[in-house]
Amino acid sequence: MTSSTETTLAGPPGEPGQIADSGTAAPAELAGRSPGQLMWQRFKRDRTGVISAYVVGFFFLVGIFAPVISKLYGKDPYTLYGTNEPGLLNDFGYPIAPNGGMSSRFWFGIEPNLGRDVFMQLVYGIRTSLSIAVAVTLAVTATAIVMGVTAGYVGGKTDYFIGRVTDLLMALPAQLFFVAVMPVVTAVFVSPVDETPTYLRVVALISVQWFLGWMGLARLLRGQVLSLREREFIEAARVTGASSWRIVRRELLPNLVTPILVQSTLMLPAFVTAEAGLSFLGVGLIEPTPDWGRMFARGAEVYQNDLTYMFFPGIAMVVFIVAFNLLGDSVRDAFDPKAAR
């Protein structure tokens, strides 16, 4: 607003259209860019960030299009190929062909004992793990925003109460809590004679991780809100009679986008590994739902005789986590170039 007024005032007399035409080139470059656009430009210049983004995107595409891949590949993650067909697994249940049974038919080999297709197991395992991690991240971020902003903006008793709840939950040993609670959650809702439905396990997994996942971000946001709410533009908004809801929505939240985005990109890979860890410990998803973490658990048992089986899920997980963390770093750098690395 101000700059355009100045231009108009300072410009030589004549037809407004012409002035605008001749003047646009240089000043328009300087003006009219939101922080978001600036961030995007900086991000595009960060080669590591871009490559990481492609890698992460690739994993998400694999997860989303798993059924399509399955159709094109002609196999599914549930059929026990090795058990049904003789000649694929030896007496000990290990693949007969070298490299874990890798062949043009089974690209990543076949699973020891059960004889399922490793490629399909991995693709569907990624799908399972990523969807759970995304759901947890969304839930956690939403909760953290509500709790953090409320605590910071309302202050007083509310802040105290939310602060203590946060402390309490942060004091709980998360991994131990998951291991203890998961069987209880599934036992409460299911009749002892029926199989626990997979969706219930997924919901339980998401809930327990959500329950102990939101505190860090909430604290961070509370701190930001505390410092923001004393600033002049908030004061100004208050003086003009804006409602609290409007202040939070229009004045505070836009200023919180950076920590929220950065934190959630760093949280998501942590939830992927946490979910894998739970499955590894035997409290996550169980057979026959394909799961990334359980592939490690199995891989750790058979690595002496079938190293290949651990190889593919392991490499995939390492690549994914590294890429996602690099992406998180790049996003942070792009938002806040001043922050020292």
């Binding site: 059960l114 002892p192 199989e195 035997g282 392991g314």
Partner: protein
């Protein structure tokens, strides 16, 4: 009264690490490249068992023992054990690793003699023979040998035997077997303690009507009921002799007085134990044991993987090493059997355990449903997980090949068809109009348990069942399936015989009158014919006739009642160093025979 947790396939996952090295792994190789010798050895161990286990007379019980070919005395043998010994008091010894140690340090009235031809005989150990029965098997008389002594040189007399029996009734004896006490008191459970509440410690003794010791060398047991398995009973390490003059009650568990060829020099609980020769053990009194090795240096905390890798390497002191109880771990089994140089340093044989999937008879009342289940259930996965033919053998019945009088039988075709017969099962279900019967399948929630459950669930679905898989935590698994009113239809369990007679398998597992919470009749089977047959066979005084009758009853249970389906007989492969001589597997101890070992010079 033994059960195994290995039945649950509770293989513990090692730490997870991603090996980013070149992927040369996998490639288990074709079965055609497998070691031929291995198969020969395996089938040989089975053949040895086909013969009957006989009860030895005075001649068979006379020492010294038949020399082991090529044996030389002297040397130190290193023993790599996983678990330290919690109990050394004979009355407290029940578990297999302690029983194995007991063969070296303790002696009882009888023991098992394994001769060089591979034949098993129950012989008199402290006694002159395996027992003289009279009164239709109710009265058993034992005479002690001359020259039997404890490690301090005190002669062993009938007073010590009486003391050893009476102290089993004392409240602090809680871990040993209870058969003898129950037989004498003629009760089940722990009610036998009322017979002699304080043991012999307050001056009370068992009446002569139950146990009489007319002179220093004679012991007579008068059981209220005929007990034809008495020679087997006294071969249990739990009924070995205790020195009445030096009985320190609870403290005896840490420092017992030895009567066998070795005695404890020192014992650092949880770390190590050293056994040295017992100078007061006279080889002329012992028909089963030897005393070739000077010292056994036992160290603990060697997991199966650790002991296997040490023995595979065969380097340095590993050459004179052995493990009494550790089997070759299943992950290394393919390497061990695939390399003839390593494989020739192994012994193999049976464990007493038989794996089975129990059908809950309280819920699955329809015979056709049970039959269809029995036909459909695949056993291949459990066989593979135990190490294929080196850790398991497909079972046709509930009685293991390690039992006396074993007859190979496969009435349901389970051994012949380890993948299950879904088509036949589906036909039975269709004919009976029971398609889509809901089956709640409880399994133990370990990685391997989950994997096995997938194969079973897949097979049962193919056979037309509505399978509901229910995972149970591994630490409370047996408690949950042991409840009489549990709500599961099928679940796995395993049972091992205490001595090589079906009388320690069929009565505890299939007698309908013993159904109770946590009783081993997990299938809750209560069949009038089984119950009456158990009573009839237990009264038989001819061991051969009893053995045949047990196996006939087994066939009846497998085909006519179907309270479950047998899966595998557990086997074991053990490895020893290249300078260890006399290594032979003893099916009665379900481990390598420690009494025959020597160090090659």
């Amino acid at each position: 009264m033994r059960r195994t947790r290995t039945a649950l396939l509770a293989t513990v996952a090692a730490g997870a690490l991603v090996l980013t090295a070149c992927s040369s792994g996998g490639g288990g190789g074709n079965s055609t490249t497998e070691n031929k010798d291995a198969k020969v050895k395996q089938s040989k161990s089975a053949q040895q068992l086909a013969g009957q286990i006989t009860f030895g007379d005075d001649a068979a019980s006379k020492g010294p023992a038949e020399p082991v070919p090529g044996a030389t005395p002297g040397g130190t043998m290193n023993v790599l054990e996983r678990d330290s010994y919690t109990h050394l008091d004979p009355g407290q010894i029940y578990v297999s690793n302690e029983g194995q140690l007991a063969t070296l340090i303790h002696r009882g009235l009888t023991t098992y003699k394994l001769d060089n031809a591979g034949k098993y005989t129950v012989v008199g150990d402290l006694a002159t023979n395996s027992g003289e029965q009279s009164d239709g098997g109710k009265t058993w008389t034992y005479h002690l040998k001359d020259g039997i002594k404890f490690q301090d040189g005190t002669p062993i007399t009938s007073k010590d035997i009486r003391w050893s029996v009476e102290r089993l009734f004392a409240p602090f004896i809680t871990n040993g077997p209870a058969y003898l006490q129950q037989w004498l008191a003629n009760t089940a459970g722990t009610d036998y303690r009322k017979l002699l509440p304080d043991g012999p410690y307050k001056g009370a003794h068992l009446p002569d009507t139950l146990l009489s010791t007319p002179d220093a060398k004679t012991i007579v047991f008068h059981f209220p009921k005929p007990q034809t398995d008495t020679p087997y009973l006294f071969a249990m390490p739990g009924y070995s002799v205790v020195d009445s003059a030096k009985d320190t009650k609870q403290a005896y568990d840490k420092a017992p007085v030895a009567s066998g060829p070795y005695m404890i020099k020192n014992f650092d609980q949880g770390k190590s134990m050293t056994l040295v020769k017992n100078p007061n053990w006279d080889p002329n009194t012992d028909s089963a044991r030897h005393q070739y090795v000077d010292t056994f240096a036992i160290t603990f905390n060697h997991q199966a993987e650790d002991s296997t890798k040490r023995l595979m390497s065969d380097s340095g002191e590993n050459q004179t090493s052995v493990s009494f109880d550790n089997a070759v771990d299943t992950d290394n089994t393919p390497k061990v059997v695939g390399d003839p140089a390593i494989y020739k340093r192994t012994v193999a044989g049976y464990q007493p355990f038989v794996g089975q999937i129990d059908f809950n008879m309280k819920r699955l009342t329809d015979f056709d449903v049970r039959k269809a289940l029995a036909l459909a259930i695949p056993t291949k996965a459990v066989y593979q997980a135990l190490g294929a033919e080196y850790g398991a053998e497909y079972a046709g019945g509930f009685l293991s090949p390690s039992l006396a009088g074993y007859q190979k039988a496969d009435p349901l075709g389970k051994a012949a068809n380890p993948n299950g017969d879904a088509a036949a099962a589906k036909k039975i279900l269709t004919d009976a109009g029971k398609l889509n019967t809901k089956i709640t399948y409880a399994y133990v929630n370990t990685t391997a348990g989950q994997q096995y459950s997938v194969t079973i669930a897949t097979a049962l679905k193919a056979a037309g069942f509505d399978v509901q898989r229910k995972e149970l935590p591994s630490d409370t698994y047996y408690d949950l399936i042991g409840k009489v009113d549990n709500q599961y239809d099928i679940y796995a369990s395993a049972w091992g015989a205490d001595w090589p007679s079906a009388s320690t398998v069929i009565p505890p597992v299939f007698d309908g009158r013993t159904i109770a919470d946590q009783a081993p009749n997990y299938a809750h089977v209560n069949d009038a014919h089984i119950n009456s047959e158990i009573d009839r066979i237990e009264a038989l005084t001819d061991p051969a006739a009893a053995q045949k009758a047990w196996f006939d009853l087994n066939t009846y249970i497998v085909t006519k009642v179907i309270p479950g389906v047998p899966t595998v007989y557990y086997k074991q492969l053990q490895l020893f160093g290249s300078k260890v001589g006399g290594a032979v597997y003893n099916n009665m101890f379900s481990a390598i025979d420690a009494t025959k070992l020597f160090v090659k010079q």
